[in-house]
């Protein structure tokens, strides 16, 4: 059970949060101009790596804000947390 430092509320138990998959996958601005393959790349393809991963999280039972997290999936170490729209920290 992680302890997550919500950028708006501070440290809270993982129970209050919802994971939202890989971060920094922007919805295409002009979907109709994409080929099936390009659209499928956006829609379906996720890295799901063992190691340092960039993820979206939502403080669902708190402020309901979405934010980003850098987490090492091999040991669940949370390396960084930053707001939506902010640049990811350099690795």
């Amino acid at each position: 059970m992680f302890l997550i430092n919500c950028p708006y509320c501070g440290e809270r138990d993982q129970q209050e949060f919802k994971a939202g998959g890989e971060a920094h996958i922007e919805r295409p601005k002009q979907p109709t101009e994409l080929s099936d393959d390009e659209w499928a790349e956006y829609l379906f393809m996720r890295k799901n790596i063992k190691g340092v991963q960039f993820e979206r999280w939502n403080h669902a039972h708190g402020c309901r804000k979405w934010f980003n997290m850098v987490r090492d999936t091999s040991n669940d170490e949370i390396k960084a947390i930053y707001k939506m729209g902010e640049k990811p920290p350099a690795q």
């Binding site: 059970m1 992680f2 302890l3 138990d13 919802k18 939202g20 922007e26 919805r27 295409p28 002009q30 979907p31 109709t32 994409l34 099936d36 659209w39 499928a40 829609l43 979206r56 939502n58 669902a60 309901r64 804000k65 979405w66 040991n75 669940d76 170490e77 939506m84 729209g85």
Partner: protein, 1001 residues
């Protein structure tokens, strides 16, 4: 006559408080302070159970939670009964009953014991190999296996006890209150850290509290006396909370630990009532100090499992702590000095110690000399090659060990004895440490796994970190505490310690016998009857990974998770495979460390608190009017309202007819309601729904379909424009929370530039839906001054009005195809509104209807229910709802996916209507649909999603999804059922009033 084997009064046993208890139906006596195990041993009862596979007689082996054999059923036959409890952990109380498990008809005569004589036929993997074929026989095998196995019985009635959960936040959590834990907690608390100290036992002090080696001294006192003084001082320390009878079950990441606090298990039945039995502590600690100690290992030799064979440290604890001797003729078998302490403990109380058998060549320590001086015979370089005694040990046979330790020589000596204390060295209890994700390393010299890489703010101290001697413990504890807590001084700085150093030890994982391995039974895992032979067999059959060997042999897979024998299993694998133990790694220690009750896990969340129920403001009315309820998400919705003993079918037929013929009323309060405001509200709706919203006039309503980005239907509902920048959206009852989350997600992450605010108002409004040709007249009676003329208040429009002083929002929208109104009021007026409608509708025979009738009525109209007629694989095109998908809009969620080659396939499953050839035959929802009767295997074209007998059409109707169904209108298909095939015809899904004439009736 039962013997009394009390040897001296112990300060932990209250001999003035005599307690009677029953074991296997027979009454025994013990004293306050006894465990079930110590009390049985005092009564000379060793045989307490049978092993799992061979049903071999087994006795009490240990004095702690690592016990593999003495597993009992507590209070059998009552609703408080609990299986798989370790007798070594049960504190006795007046009236306690316990019984052996895994034996039939009794522990003394067990039919399954025949497996013992058949054991050549039960090698490792026996079950995998034997019961796999022929497959059709599995049912018969299963019956046999279940009958002869079975670890205890679960209670058959509900648990009468109360359980609780508590969250604890602390600076320092210390697990284990032996000498290291006590000193760590004391120094942490003294330095202003909010500290919690927990221990699974009922007394503090661990094993040091009965440490009797006269050559060990702390500040010139025996370790035992010195520690008692330290424990006394704990009482006056602030910032320190101590919890005994509290076992840490799990250690998760980020220093989140779960512990079970046992509050009443040691009390008599009359003192248990109305008290919390067990409490689950959810502990979040800034720092965790593990002082979990070490577990003594047995030695692995032929027939090492007979009742009377125990751990040497357990023999000592029973003697020193409980004042109980485990035998009248004692022998010890060891590879290190600790057995000599146990031997001396018995000798000093005048109890007969026949011999110590030591696999080492010699030892120079003072304690060994003392044993020699006492005249106890020591057999150096000897090993036990066999033991005798079926239900109780009666002798051991020993032989000289060869120099390399792999064979035995010379002649066999038999020593008569009734108790054998076995000392195989100490294994640090690193279970919790590894659960936290931290990594171990193997210490070649000490032959143990030790904490190596910590993943969280944690510290291992004392024997769980490999420090076994008091001087090392205190020295290392001192500098570790200073480092970890960042403190300069501790009260350990000036402690003087003298100790008797052990100078030799010898590890032989599997001791040889004069018989070959195939003829011996050296048990490694007592609970699962895995022997060294099984492990070697697994290696011969090609298993290499420790995890595979574990599963194949079931070593370490009992309720004790192999706390005693796992190291031997690793050692034997390493020796046999010729690899180093460090390279093998260990198996994973999984939580819980000791079993937890279900009660503790669920706490107060039982019965009606198991899951949250949501009830509408009209709920009391539904209850008073005998509604049956159904669960929709967390909501309790009125399902139907039977009168005069009607069946569900009868009630629904009546309700459905009434709603179409005169008037019906539905509690629609559970529909999700989201208030949407902001200057970009219209644009936002354009992006989330498939249809266009910008041109919707204020005061008008529109149905919308929401897709996932993959083009599949996600939710639907009517949204009303309340003002220029203000909408109220309704969602399905079950989808409300997810829709809000999804909308918030898009607003925050993809479209932060939009000025839109979302508020969930589901609970704020109560909704009564008036429906039927007389609904207009009823509403007119309730709100006489409201203009209900069709031209001023047409279908799909909205008005604000007052019922008396109560403000309400009225939408003229319909989910039944009838003329209807949805009246929304502030939730607290919901029941008032409902009663007003009922009263006004009385002359029109207004009929309350539930969700079942609602489903039937909408099915007559071919309206879908998201989640019933769709399953996350249906596009609007599949649903034949092309009309709602805007061709003009550049984009909306899911649009691009509607043009993927896969979503455009003609042969996708599509929504159609089905009519049965026999109009009285009602299909089963979920039934499969086929087009060919005499084909094998037959292609499944789809399935029935909704099916009812329509009282208004007087025939059976159904909705279904069928592959390529759109182009099958009029085609005959079949629904195969268990005993018959039902003929059906594919039709348009709209069965009733296709031209929507009734909306304005």
């Amino acid at each position: 006559m039962t013997k009394n084997l009390r040897v001296k009064s112990s300060e932990y046993i209250d001999e003035t408080n005599r307690i009677s208890f029953k074991f296997n139906g027979k009454t025994y006596h013990g004293f306050k302070g006894d465990t079930l195990a110590s009390a049985l041993l005092a009564n000379d009862v060793h045989l307490v159970g049978r092993s799992f596979k061979y049903h071999r007689p087994r006795g009490i082996m240990t004095a702690g939670s690592e016990e593999p054999n003495a597993i009992v059923q507590v209070n059998p036959g009552t609703n408080r009964t609990e299986p798989n409890v370790r007798a070594t952990e049960v504190e006795i109380y007046e009236g306690l009953e316990a019984s052996s498990q895994n034996c039939w008809p009794s522990v003394e005569f067990d039919i399954g014991g025949i497996n013992n004589f058949l054991s050549p036929f039960f090698p490792a993997g026996f079950y995998y190999k034997t019961f796999m074929w022929p497959a059709s026989f599995w049912e018969k095998y299963e019956f046999f296996i279940r009958h002869s196995a079975g670890l205890g019985k679960s209670p058959t009635s509900s648990d009468p006890d109360i359980y609780d959960h508590r969250n604890i936040h602390c600076d320092v959590l210390v697990v284990g209150a032996g000498i290291s834990g006590i000193l760590a907690a004391k120094n942490a608390a003294k330095n202003n850290f909010k500290t919690l100290l927990v221990d699974e036992k009922n007394e503090l002090g661990g094993s040091t509290i009965f440490e009797n080696n006269e050559f060990n001294k702390i500040d010139n006192k025996t370790p035992s006396d010195w520690l008692k003084k330290e424990i006394e001082e704990l009482k006056n320390i602030k910032n320190l909370e101590i919890k005994t009878r509290t076992s840490v079950a799990a250690y998760h990441q980020y220093n989140y630990l779960l512990a079970r606090e046992n509050l009443t298990d040691h009390l008599e039945a009359k003192d248990k009532t109305n008290k919390i039995r067990q409490r689950l502590l959810k502990i979040r600690a800034k720092k965790v100090i593990l002082a979990t100690g070490a577990l003594e290992r047995p030695l692995i030799f032929n027939n090492n499992d007979r009742p009377g064979i125990m751990l040497s440290s357990a023999v000592k604890k029973y003697s020193e702590f409980y004042g109980v001797t485990c035998g009248s003729k004692n022998v010890f078998f060891t590879n290190n000095d600790s057995a000599y302490e146990s031997a001396l403990s018995l000798f000093n109380k005048g109890i007969n110690v026949e011999a110590v058998i030591d696999i080492r060549e010699q030892s120079e320590s003072k304690i060994v000399k003392k044993v020699k001086e006492a005249g106890i015979k020591i057999y150096w370089s000897h090993t036990i090659v066999d033991t005798a005694g079926y239900k109780r040990l009666n002798s051991v046979s020993i032989m000289k060990l060869s120099t390399d330790g792999t064979s035995v020589t010379g002649s066999k000596i038999s020593i008569s004895c009734d108790c054998l204390g076995v000392a195989g060295g100490w294994t640090p209890a690193v279970h919790l440490y590894t659960q936290s994700g931290s990594k171990l390393k193997f210490d070649e010299e000490k032959q143990i796994f030790l904490p190596n890489q910590n993943t969280s703010e944690q510290l291992s101290v004392g024997s769980c970190s490999g420090d076994f001697k008091i001087d090392e413990i205190i020295k290392n504890l001192n500098h570790k505490l200073k480092d970890t807590l960042n403190i300069k001084e501790t009260d350990l700085d000036n402690i003087k310690v003298e100790i008797d150093h052990e100078n030799s030890k010898k590890n032989i994982w599997l001791l040889p016998s004069d018989k070959p391995l195939g003829k011996t039974k050296p048990f490694v895992d007592y609970q699962n009857d895995a022997t060294a032979k099984d492990i070697k067999l697994a290696l011969r059959e090609g298993f290499r990974s420790i995890e595979h060997v574990k599963r194949y042999t079931t070593t370490g897979m009992g309720t004790d998770q192999g706390k005693l024998g796992n190291m031997h299993a690793l050692g034997i694998i390493a020796d046999t495979a010729g690899v180093k133990m460090g390279e093998l790694g260990t198996t994973t220690f999984r939580p819980p460390y000791t079993p937890l009750t279900f009660g503790t896990i669920v706490g107060r969340n039982v019965g009606k608190f198991f899951d949250i129920f949501r009830r509408t403001p009209m709920n009391d009315w539904h209850v008073e009017n005998k509604a049956e309820f159904e669960n929709v998400g967390q909501w309790k919705r009125a399902w139907y309202y039977p009168i005069n003993g009607e069946t569900m079918h009868q009630a629904v037929q009546r309700e459905s007819k009434a709603a179409r013929e005169s008037a019906g009323i539905l509690d629609a309060s559970t529909l999700g309601k989201i208030d949407i405001q902001g200057s970009d509200a219209s644009e936002f709706l354009n992006r989330v729904y498939t249809n266009a919203w910008s041109k919707l006039a204020i005061g008008k309503c529109r149905y919308g379909l929401m897709l996932n980005e993959d083009g599949m239907v996600y939710d639907d509902g009517v949204t009303t424009r309340l003002g220029e920048n203000h909408y109220i959206m309704t969602t399905t009852t079950g989808g409300a929370a997810n829709v809000l989350s999804k909308l918030e997600d898009y607003l925050q992450t993809e479209w932060p530039e939009l000025d839109v605010y979302l508020t969930s108002v589901t609970d704020h409004y109560a909704t009564a839906s008036l429906c039927g040709p007389n609904s207009k007249k009823i509403l007119k009676k309730i709100i006489p001054d409201l203009d209900l003329a069709d031209e001023n208040f047409p279908h799909m429009s909205f008005k604000e009005a007052n019922i008396g002083n109560i403000q309400c929002r009225i939408m003229r929208i319909s989910f039944t195809g009838e003329h209807s109104y949805e009246i929304n009021v502030q939730a607290s007026y919901g029941k008032d509104l409902w009663e007003k409608c009922m009263e006004a509708g009385q002359e029109f025979n207004i009929t309350p209807y539930g969700t079942e009738t609602m489903h039937l009525l909408r099915a007559e109209k071919g309206f879908i229910i998201v989640g019933q007629d769709t399953d996350g694989t249906m596009t609007p095109i599949d649903l034949q709802m092309d009309w709602i998908v805007s061709k003009k809009k550049y984009d909306f969620i899911g649009k691009r996916s509607l043009y993927r080659s896969d979503t455009m396939r003609e042969d996708r499953k599509q929504l159609v209507g089905l009519l049965t050839e026999d109009p009285n035959e009602v299909l089963e929802e979920g039934a499969q649909i086929i087009s060919e009767l005499n084909q094998s295997p037959v292609e499944m074209l789809g399935h029935v999603t909704s099916s009812y007998f329509s009282p208004n059409l007087n025939k059976s109707i159904a909705l279904a999804v069928v592959r390529g169904g759109k182009n099958m209108m009029g085609k005959k298909l079949f629904v195969p059922m268990e005993n018959k095939n039902i003929n059906v015809i594919v039709t348009n899904p709209v069965f009733y009033d296709e031209k929507n004439e009734r909306l304005n009736a």
